[in-house]
C-alpha cells in the first residue's frame, strides 16, 4: 500500500513538474534555446504573488489574476530586450545571457526580499491542506489534483493552440524554419516574443503552485529548472504530452526514492534522468532535434 501511495503521490507531483517543464519545452521547441533562467522566473512569479497576497490579503489563486498578465508582459519585454538580441549572436549566446539573467534575478530577489524560506500554503486556505481519503494509507490531496488538472489543461491548451489556431500555425512554421517563415510573411521575432510570454506565464503558474504546495525561497529557481529539464528529456524533447509523462516518471522516481529513504528522493530522480540519457531513447534525442518537431 505504501508503494501505491508513493506512485499516486509521484503522479500528482509529476503534474507540477510538467507545468514547470512546458514553458521550457515551448521555448526550446520554437527558438531552440534552453532558458537557464526559467526556474528563477518561476520563483520571481511566486514572489510577485507573495507580495500581492501579503499586501492585500488576497488568496494566492486570486492574486494570479493580476500577476499572470504582468508576467506575460514581462516575458514579452524580456524577449524584445535581451533574448532577441542574443538569438542573433549565435547558438551559445542565449545560454550565456539566460544564465547571467538567472544570477541577476536570483540575487535581486535575495536583495529585495530576504533569504527566508516562505510558503503560500497558509494563505491558500483549505485547498492546500484538504484531501480525499481513499483508504487508510492512500489519500489524494485537493491541491495535488488541482495541479495535475491544471497541467493537463495547460498542456492540452497549448497543444490545441499549436494545432488549431493561426498563431499556432505561425509558431510551428517559425520553429521549423524561421527564415522561410519570415519570407512568407510570418513575423518571426513577434512569434518568438509571444512564445516567451506564454512560457513565462506558465512558469509563474508553476512557481505559485510550488509555493502553495511546499516552500520556496530566493534560491529555489535552479532546482526547479533542473527538474523541469529532466521532465522534458525523460518525456522526449519537443513533445508536449511527453513532457507530462516525463514529469510523472520523475515525480514517481522521487517519491519512490523518498519511500526508501528521504535522502534518496532527488537523487533517484537524477538517476532516472541519467539512465534515460544513457538508453537508446536518449540516443534518439539528437535525431528528434534535427527533425525540428514542436508538438
Amino acid at each position: 500500500m505504501n508503494w501505491v501511495n508513493a506512485i499516486v503521490q509521484g503522479i500528482l507531483l509529476g503534474g507540477l513538474y510538467a507545468l514547470f517543464a512546458c514553458g521550457l519545452s515551448l521555448m526550446f521547441g520554437v527558438m531552440r534555446i534552453i532558458n537557464l533562467a526559467h526556474g528563477d522566473i518561476a520563483v520571481l512569479g511566486a514572489f510577485l504573488v507573495w507580495s500581492l497576497t501579503t499586501r492585500f490579503g488576497m488568496n494566492p489563486f486570486w492574486a494570479l489574476v493580476p500577476a499572470l498578465p504582468v508576467m506575460l508582459i514581462l516575458g514579452y519585454v524580456l524577449h524584445r530586450t535581451v533574448l532577441a538580441r542574443s538569438l542573433r549572436g549565435g547558438p551559445l549566446t542565449p545560454l550565456l545571457t539566460t544564465f547571467g539573467l538567472a544570477i541577476v534575478i536570483q540575487n535581486a530577489l535575495l536583495q529585495a526580499y530576504n533569504p527566508d524560506v516562505r510558503s503560500l500554503g497558509g494563505a491558500a486556505g483549505g485547498i492546500a491542506t484538504g484531501s480525499w481519503r481513499i483508504t487508510d494509507q492512500l489519500s489524494l490531496s485537493y491541491l495535488g489534483a488541482l495541479i495535475l488538472a491544471t497541467a493537463v489543461l495547460v498542456l492540452g491548451g497549448l497543444q490545441l493552440m499549436l494545432r488549431r489556431t493561426a498563431f499556432g500555425r505561425e509558431m510551428r512554421a517559425t520553429a521549423q524554419d524561421a527564415d522561410t517563415a519570415t519570407l512568407v510573411g510570418v513575423p518571426a521575432s513577434s512569434v518568438y516574443a509571444r512564445a516567451t510570454a506564454i512560457a513565462v506565464a506558465t512558469a509563474t503558474l508553476a512557481g505559485v503552485f510550488l509555493a502553495v504546495r511546499s516552500i520556496f525561497d530566493a534560491s529555489s529557481g535552479p532546482t526547479q529548472l533542473i527538474f523541469a529539464f529532466e521532465a522534458v528529456v525523460i518525456g522526449g524533447l519537443g513533445s508536449l504530452w511527453g513532457t507530462l509523462w516525463g514529469g510523472m516518471v520523475l515525480g514517481v522516481a522521487q517519491t519512490i526514492g523518498a519511500t526508501i529513504d528521504p535522502q534518496y528522493s532527488i537523487l533517484a530522480g537524477h538517476l532516472v534522468f541519467l539512465i534515460v540519457l544513457a538508453s537508446p531513447h536518449g540516443r534518439s534525442l539528437l535525431a528528434l532535434r534535427r527533425e525540428g518537431r514542436t508538438t
Partner: protein, 330 residues
C-alpha cells in the same frame, strides 16, 4: 602567387612578448620567498580562478560546449583529495591523484554528456554535478552535508604550507596553460578554432569533431578537478553545497565572457579582473552578484569577444604564437 606570400607563426614582437610571459611565470614562482603569507594565499586563489577560467574557455570557447556543471569536477577533485588523504596518501600527492581521477571521471561521463548539444549539454552537466553533490552528502566518512577538512597538511608550518600549496597551484596553472598552448599551436589548433567558428562547416571540411571535443572535455575535467583539489588545499575545509555550487559556473562564465571567449589571453585577463573585483566588491553580497550577472549579459550581447578583443584588434602582432600570419615574401 604562392611564392609571394609566406605563412609565419611569429615575428620578433611575438617572440619578445612570449618571452615576457615566460619571465612572468618564473618570477611568480619566487613570490613566497619575499612576500607575506596572505599575499601568497591570495595569489593561490588567483591561480585556481585562472585554471577554472582557462578550462571553461577550452570547453565553451573552443569546443562550443557551454557547461553549467564544471563544479562536478571541482567538487569531485576536492572530495577525491579528502578521500585519498583519509586513506593515508600524502596530501599534496592526493591533490595530483585527484586531478587525474577527475580526468578519468570525465572519460566516463563523456559518452553520456557529449551526445547532448547546446543547452542540453549545459543542464545535463549541471544534473551530474547535483547528483554527485547528493551522493557525497550521503557519505558520512566524507563529512556528509556538514563538510570536511583536509587532514595531513596541518603538520606543516603554516607559512611553508601556503608556499607549497602556492607552488603546486602555480605549477598546475602553468602546466595547463602550456597544454592549451600546445593544443592550439599544433595541428589540432586549426581544427579546434574551426570548430569554434562554425562546427558544421568544420565537419563538412573533414574535421573529426567528436575526438576533439572528447579531448577538450577530458582536459577541462582534469583542470577543474585540479582547481577543486587546490581550492581545498588552500582553504583546508569544504562543504558539498559550496564546492558543488553552481556559483563556480557563474564565476567561470563571467571571467571568460569579460576577458574574451575563444581567445588564449582572454581568460587570463578575465581571471585577474574577476579576482580584483571580488576583492573590492564581494562585501556587497547580493548586489555584487547582480552586478556580475548584468555585466556578463552586457558582454555577451554587446562585446561578445570580450575585453581582450579591444586590445587584440589594435595590436599589430599577437602576444603568443598561436595563430598564423600571412606576410609578403622577401
Amino acid at each position: 602567387m604562392s611564392e609571394q606570400w609566406t605563412v609565419k607563426r611569429s615575428g620578433r614582437a611575438t617572440r619578445i612578448s612570449s618571452g615576457v610571459f615566460v619571465l612572468i611565470g618564473i618570477v611568480l614562482f619566487t613570490v613566497p620567498l619575499g612576500f607575506r603569507a596572505d599575499v601568497v594565499q591570495q595569489l593561490t586563489t588567483l591561480c585556481t580562478l585562472l585554471i577554472m577560467a582557462v578550462m571553461w574557455n577550452v570547453l565553451a570557447g573552443y569546443g562550443g560546449l557551454v557547461s553549467v556543471g564544471q563544479q562536478a569536477f571541482i567538487g569531485f577533485g576536492a572530495y577525491a583529495t579528502v578521500y585519498l588523504a583519509q586513506l593515508g596518501v600524502p596530501a599534496y600527492l592526493a591533490v595530483v591523484l585527484a586531478a587525474l581521477a577527475s580526468a578519468v571521471l570525465a572519460v566516463a561521463l563523456a559518452p553520456l554528456l557529449l551526445r547532448l548539444r547546446g543547452g542540453q549539454f549545459a543542464v545535463g552537466t549541471w544534473v551530474v554535478a547535483e547528483a554527485l553533490a547528493l551522493l557525497v552528502a550521503l557519505d558520512h566518512e566524507l563529512g556528509g552535508g556538514t563538510g570536511v577538512s583536509l587532514r595531513g597538511l596541518n603538520t606543516i608550518a603554516p607559512d611553508w604550507r601556503r608556499a607549497y600549496t602556492y607552488w603546486l597551484t602555480l605549477g598546475f596553472a602553468v602546466l595547463l596553460l602550456v597544454l592549451v598552448f600546445l593544443l592550439l599551436r599544433r595541428r589540432s589548433g586549426a581544427a579546434i578554432q574551426a570548430i569554434r567558428d562554425d562546427e558544421e562547416a568544420a565537419a563538412s571540411l573533414g574535421v573529426r569533431i567528436m575526438p576533439l571535443k572528447f579531448m577538450l572535455f577530458v582536459l577541462a575535467g582534469f583542470g577543474c578537478g585540479a582547481a577543486g583539489a587546490l581550492t581545498l588545499a588552500n582553504t583546508l575545509f569544504i562543504q558539498p553545497q559550496s564546492i558543488f555550487g553552481v556559483q563556480w559556473s557563474a564565476y567561470m562564465l563571467f571571467m571568460v565572457l569579460v576577458g574574451g571567449i575563444g581567445t588564449y589571453e582572454g581568460p587570463i585577463l578575465g581571471a585577474i579582473l574577476f579576482f580584483l573585483l571580488q576583492d573590492w566588491f564581494a562585501q556587497y553580497g547580493a548586489w555584487y552578484l547582480i552586478g556580475l550577472g548584468a555585466v556578463a549579459i552586457a558582454f555577451a550581447l554587446f562585446l561578445p569577444r570580450g575585453l581582450w578583443s579591444l586590445a587584440d584588434d589594435r595590436l599589430p602582432f599577437r602576444l603568443l604564437p598561436v595563430g598564423y600570419t600571412l606576410r609578403p615574401a622577401g
